[in-house]
């Protein structure tokens, strides 16, 4: 880990001003993923700007939905009564992620900015287009058993975001509130936050330099209230998803009024499936409908040599999640 200076701040204004003065600096909140990467010299920063004292906490009901401060911790949000009652899939996505210790540390804003767990990105001995643009992608023909099958490109097949929360937020149309270095705020739907790798996999999201995530707002909806997050892993707990599904259904008299489907573990970015939602909406809540929706969600999959199993695994995961939520 390189040496750095450390500056705690207690206002967004000052935090962004410090970033303007030292563009190569970074913000630190929970520090879990940042220090993990700094310890292997994957990233280096001359200065850490500690934002933990910023007033970015609180979980409150607003006209636009439930507003969650970016400095709330995963554990507190996952067990918050309003999140559990109104967005079970969001609660489950948080409590199935990481470990109890890490959930006590990691902030919501930081969670959304996790970096890929692709082994070629993590090991500086290998080329990687995300780490060193233009250097190549050994994953295309290498050990790709855990990597993505949707949204891939010849430059990158890694999951830009390997976690769970964003998948659930994506399903329920969450909106991020961002504050830039000039103190100006903007609202960005999470559906347009992450960027497909294309030929520039080092560009992962639409954050401007120095811009802070200050809050996440999730609109209230019946399909969010009746929702679940199903995560399939190589071991039962404390692992990243091979495939996951965040689903929500509004079923009335056996007919699906509205549906939300997002997949994790299989896309280069958290993967919303309008194709599956279209098949589900207006259809009877039956296994046949669920299987048709799952097939549609994976129709564009482009597996590589070692991750072809994910095409079926993701479909089974999605069908099971829809069955679970339809019978609740």
């Amino acid at each position: 880990m390189n040496n750095f200076t450390y500056t705690p701040t207690n206002s967004a204004k000052e935090a962004t001003r410090l970033r303007r003065e030292t563009p190569a600096a970074t913000y630190v909140a929970g520090a879990t993923t940042l220090l993990d990467m700094m310890k292997v010299n994957l990233v280096e920063y001359p200065q850490l700007i500690d934002i933990n004292a910023l007033p970015l906490t609180g979980i409150e009901q607003t006209a636009n939905g439930l507003r969650i401060g970016a400095l709330e911790r995963m554990s507190d949000v996952g067990e918050h009564r309003l999140v559990v009652a109104q967005y079970p899939a969001v609660s489950e996505s948080l409590l199935l992620a990481a470990s109890a210790q890490l959930r006590n540390m990691a902030s919501i804003g930081g969670n959304l900015l996790q970096r890929t767990r692709c082994g070629y990105f993590r090991d500086a001995a290998f080329p990687c287009n995300k780490r060193v643009p233009g250097s190549g992608c050994p994953a295309q023909h290498g050990d790709n058993h855990g990597l993505a099958i949707l949204g891939t490109s010849e430059a990158c097949i890694a999951q830009t975001y390997p976690g769970d929360l964003s998948v659930a937020l994506l399903a329920f149309d969450a909106v991020l509130t961002l504050e830039n270095a000039k103190g100006k705020q903007r609202r960005v739907p999470i559906t347009s936050f992450y960027v497909l790798p294309g030929q520039t996999p080092h560009q992962e999201n639409i954050l401007e330099p120095g811009e802070l995530i200050v809050a996440v707002t999730i609109p209230a909806a019946e399909h969010a209230r009746r929702s679940t997050y199903l995560k399939v892993r190589e071991r039962t707990s404390y692992a990243y998803a091979l495939a996951s599904a965040a689903v929500g259904l509004d079923v009335q008299a056996g007919t699906i009024r509205s549906a939300r489907v997002a997949l994790g573990g299989v896309g280069t970015i958290p993967w919303r499936s309008p194709e599956a939602e279209k098949i589900l909406t207006g259809a009877p809540a039956t296994d046949e409908t669920f299987r048709a929706a799952a097939a549609a969600a994976l129709r564009g999959a482009q597996p590589r040599e070692h991750n072809g199993y994910k095409v079926q695994l993701a479909q089974n995961t999605l069908v099971r999640a829809l069955q679970n939520v339809a019978t609740t």
């Binding site: 880990m1 390189n2 040496n3 750095f4 200076t5 450390y6 500056t7 705690p8 701040t9 207690n10 000052e14 410090l18 003065e21 030292t22 600096a25 630190v28 520090a31 879990t32 220090l35 993990d36 310890k39 001359p46 200065q47 850490l48 500690d50 933990n52 004292a53 554990s75 990481a98 470990s99 109890a100 210790q101 890490l102 006590n104 540390m105 039962t236 707990s237 404390y238």
Partner: protein, 210 residues
């Protein structure tokens, strides 16, 4: 850069205790070598924001006692506990938050001390395995680990116990299944899980009965 350089700067700190004036004085030298913008910032920072650079004094409240160490900002809480405060009960396993051996409590919450910086934990109530017993009276979970033979090599044990104490307090050890899930951040290479689970569940049962 050798440590003596920073040690000398630190010992030159003005006796009025003003870190601001110290920073101004030291900033010119440190800034050249370490981080150019630091000089400009030091002059204009608010009372809250004091940049810490190089070996600096830090106050950590561990097991009820405030102690001062001299460390760089990059020193993790784990390394501060072990190497600076010589509290070696907290173990370093993976050093990447994957094994749980370094679990401690900060303000009563369990965290992994390898993925947080000592400098970030000033002013917090830190509890390590050394602070769990009351004098010679072991914590009930320490007793239960002995009773159930909940360890073999013992390397993960202090992390398991710190995690287990919090797990019970959180109310996440009410069933075997729940306790396994909420203890999954603590890996035991010897595979003592059944006995660890028995110890955690026994203490959870005791506390439920009051």
């Amino acid at each position: 850069m050798d440590n003596n350089f920073f040690n000398k700067l630190t010992s030159d700190q003005p006796s009025d205790g003003s870190r601001r004036s110290f920073m101004k004085q030291a900033g010119g030298i440190v800034g050249l070598a370490l981080a150019p913008p630091f000089v400009a910032q030091a002059d204009r920072l608010t009372a809250f924001s004091k940049t810490v650079a190089g070996v600096s004094p830090m106050q950590l409240k561990v097991n009820g006692t405030v102690r001062t160490i001299q460390a760089e900002p990059r020193v993790t809480l784990l390394d501060a506990l072990r190497e600076h405060l010589h509290l070696t009960g907290t173990k370093k396993g993976c050093d990447h938050g994957q094994c749980g051996a370094c679990t401690v409590h900060v303000n009563g919450r369990r965290i992994v001390s390898c993925l947080t910086l000592a400098v970030m934990n000033q002013g917090q109530e830190i509890t390590t395995i050394e602070g769990l017993a009351r004098g010679s009276e072991l914590h009930p979970l320490q007793e239960a680990f002995i009773k159930h033979d909940a360890f073999q090599c013992g390397y993960c044990t202090s992390g398991q116990i710190m995690s287990g104490v919090a797990c019970v307090q959180e109310g996440h050890a009410t069933t075997d299944h729940q306790a396994r899930e909420w203890m999954s951040g603590n890996i035991c290479r010897c595979g003592a899980y059944p006995n660890i689970l028995a110890a955690v569940r026994e203490v959870a049962g005791q506390q439920a009965k009051g």
